[in-house]
């Protein structure tokens, strides 16, 4: 996958033209008028392209290889990061990172899926697809947070739980299920932000939270568009159609009442300006931390249960 997506090509071409012109003009300072005009056109083209993204284009942005990952946000939004490893039973899973951190002088326990940059790191981190140990590590640390009454922040970015032989042997389903139940028992605030891909149960296993937010170009779905297309269209290449049908974008999920808000991204996506994306993320986390801190623990747990209890659309017709 190249760093540029097909639908971004007109933007890329214009940006390269500007770059070339600027280099040619160099010290002479000529072509200023022409440059300004091109900049204006580039800006409006960017707005046009990125304001009307299809669901599948958002899927592509959410999976963009240059998109900031959990550890990139750790670096930009948090201080005093101390990563803690291992589930104390079997292994440490590098597809989930977790540890102690400070945000604006406040202690939080941070957990996130972690994808790799490049083939080698991606193999090590299984492209951000956790084994059961990842979920069990996450739970161990959430329970540590509970004992020390520290809020939990989780960042979701996974294609899904890892479909492997060992994962099945060691209870992938059980690990996810237990997290869903145990997160409901935590009395500390839990904030989740989907930063990239929210892949089904593998995402939900760290997202039974008081507040769930999504980055503007992130997606959250019960199944990948390709997986859905393979089953319902009998053609994995019908991913764009399935993406549209699944209603998996942030605005879709907000309409369906599944998330509390959308974190804005810089024009072109988080990878075009990681610092700005991080700033927006930090602001959102702090705002919700403040709001949740004002609620009593038992009230928070009741509201969290009620949040999920009301989800679903059905009719109840009299017999």
């Amino acid at each position: 996958m190249s760093a540029w997506l097909d639908f971004e090509k007109p933007v890329l071409e214009l940006e390269q033209k500007i770059q070339n012109l600027r280099e040619k003009a160099g010290a002479s300072g000529g072509a200023a008028l022409e440059l300004a005009e091109l900049e204006r056109r580039a800006e409006s083209l960017r707005r046009e392209v990125y304001a009307n993204l299809t669901a599948y284009q958002r899927v592509q942005l959410a999976k963009h290889p240059q998109r900031p990952y959990t550890l990139d946000y750790v670096e930009r939004c948090f201080t005093d990061w101390t990563e803690l490893h291992g589930d104390r039973h079997f292994a440490d899973d590098p597809a989930i990172v977790s540890g102690l951190a400070m945000i604006d002088q406040r202690p939080v326990l941070l957990i996130g899926h972690q994808k790799g940059r490049g083939t080698k790191e991606n193999l090590m981190r299984r492209f951000g697809m956790p084994n059961p140990e990842g979920y069990r590590k996450a739970l161990r640390l959430m329970q540590l947070a509970e004992r020390f009454q520290v809020p939990v922040v989780t960042l979701v970015d996974t294609p899904g739980a890892y479909p492997g032989l060992g994962a099945e042997e060691r209870g992938q389903a059980e690990a996810i299920a237990v997290n869903l139940r145990e997160m409901a028992k935590l009395s500390v605030p839990i904030i989740t932000v989907v930063i990239g891909e929210g892949g089904s149960g593998g995402a939900l296993a760290i997202a039974v939270s008081d507040v769930v937010l999504m980055f503007e170009n992130s997606v959250y779905s019960v199944i990948s568009p390709e997986g859905c297309a393979a089953i319902l269209w009998r053609d994995g290449k019908k991913g764009p159609l399935a993406a549209e049908a699944l209603k998996l974008t942030a605005p879709d999920l907000e309409r369906l009442g599944v998330i509390e808000g959308i974190v804005p991204e810089p024009v072109g996506g988080a990878h075009r300006d990681p610092a700005a994306a991080a700033e927006a993320l930090k602001k959102a986390i702090l705002r919700h931390l403040d709001a949740l801190s004002g609620v009593s623990p038992s009230e928070r747990m009741d509201r969290r249960l009620a949040r999920f209890r009301r989800m679903g659309v059905y009719r109840e017709n009299p017999a």
Binding site: A161, Y162, P163, G164, L165, A167, E168, E169, R170, G171, Q172, A173, E174, I176, A177, V178, L180, R181, E182, M183, A184, K185, S200, G201, L204, A205, A207, V208, Y220, S221, V222, I223, C228, I231, L232, W233, R234, D235, K238, A245, L246, K247, L248, D252, L253, L256, V258, R304, L305, F308, R309, M311, G312, V313, Y314, R315, E316, N317, P318, A319
Partner: protein, 317 residues
């Protein structure tokens, strides 16, 4: 509904829709050993093969008869019907049309049957999934039915029994079907405060999103012999790891060996098995009473006159 009528419904839906009009008395070939079996023989054997013990998939209403005390079932939440929150349309048809087709084929409104009943004379709240309704997929209705059964168990101090027969979440309801996993599991967190037993029964197949939520959270987890029990599909796993999977992979016996199922129980023993389990919890809670409280089920003896008896070896191979 009379026994006969229920029995007939069971037969009809247990087969492929195209063959639902096949008259009684015809042979059915065992899906496992290939033996030709009379329909009546299969019924006598609770839809298990007398030669190889293969457990055929059965509709929820049929499994219900095998599980609960005769005449004790009272259906609840029978009128829940799916909406179409995504206005979902796949290659062939709209979701509402697919639902209508499934209703026609199965006589069910959605993929689960809920109610209260007695098992071994103990009060239970239960939801049984129906694989013949859109692959037993869990959408809002199934999630809501399970959630309400959990709430009924808590409100009426009943044991909870959830029977799974499912391929996972219902894609046509998108993210809302995923959220049913959180909804049901979060309610089970509340149930755990209550000293009420929860028995999860896994039938063929019990997979994906349902296995990754309530089905894996039973205080006791029972599985039918050879039932498919797994999170990810075998084809996806094979593609991911690029090797063949071991024989028996994701079968109940494999999952028992790996430690994620308590017992494998032949269908013919399921009522007796659940009765024995409930008897134990009934005694230890003085009739499912709250801690320090009195049993709300005054009509039932807090202590059974029966001896529990030794557990039979329930594994059939």
């Amino acid at each position: 509904m009379s026994w006969l009528k229920r029995e007939r419904t069971g037969i009809k839906a247990a087969k492929k829709p195209a063959r639902s009009d096949v008259p009684e008395g015809l042979w059915t070939k065992c899906e496992s050993c290939g033996e030709a079996l009379f329909q009546s023989v299969l019924e006598e054997n609770l839809w298990t093969c007398p030669h190889c013990q293969h457990h055929f998939r059965v509709p929820a209403r049929t499994f219900l008869q095998y599980l609960v005390d005769e005449g004790s079932f009272e259906e609840r939440d029978a009128n829940l019907e799916a909406g179409d929150p995504l206005e979902f349309r796949d290659a062939k048809m709209r979701y509402p049309d697919r639902l209508a087709l499934a209703r026609q084929e199965t006589g069910m409104k959605d993929a689960a049957l809920s109610g209260v009943a007695r098992v071994g004379d103990k009060p239970v709240a239960l939801t049984i999934m129906d694989f013949f309704f859109m692959g037993g997929s869990m959408g809002s209705v199934v999630g809501e039915k399970v959630a309400r059964s959990i709430e009924t168990a808590m409100a009426e101090r009943r044991a909870l029994i959830l029977v799974s027969a499912t391929g996972g979440a219902r894609m046509q309801e998108g993210i809302l079907s995923l959220m049913q996993m959180a909804k049901t599991s979060a309610l089970l967190a509340r149930l755990q405060r209550e000293r009420l037993p929860f028995i999860s029964i896994l039938t063929d197949p019990s997979t994906a999103g349902v296995l990754a939520s309530y089905a894996s959270l039973g205080d006791v987890i029972l599985a039918e012999p050879r039932a498919l029990v797994g999170f990810a599909g075998a084809r996806v796993i094979r593609q991911t790891i690029g090797e063949d999977l071991p024989p028996g992979f994701q079968r109940a016996e494999f999952v028992l060996e790996k430690g994620f199922v308590d017992r494998i129980v032949h269908r013919k023993q399921i009522r007796e098995e659940v009765s024995r389990l409930l008897e134990f919890f009934w005694r230890s809670t003085r009739g499912f009473a709250r801690e320090g409280g009195k049993s709300p089920h005054a009509e039932l003896p807090a202590r059974a006159a029966l001896d529990l008896g030794p557990a039979a070896d329930s594994v059939t191979r």
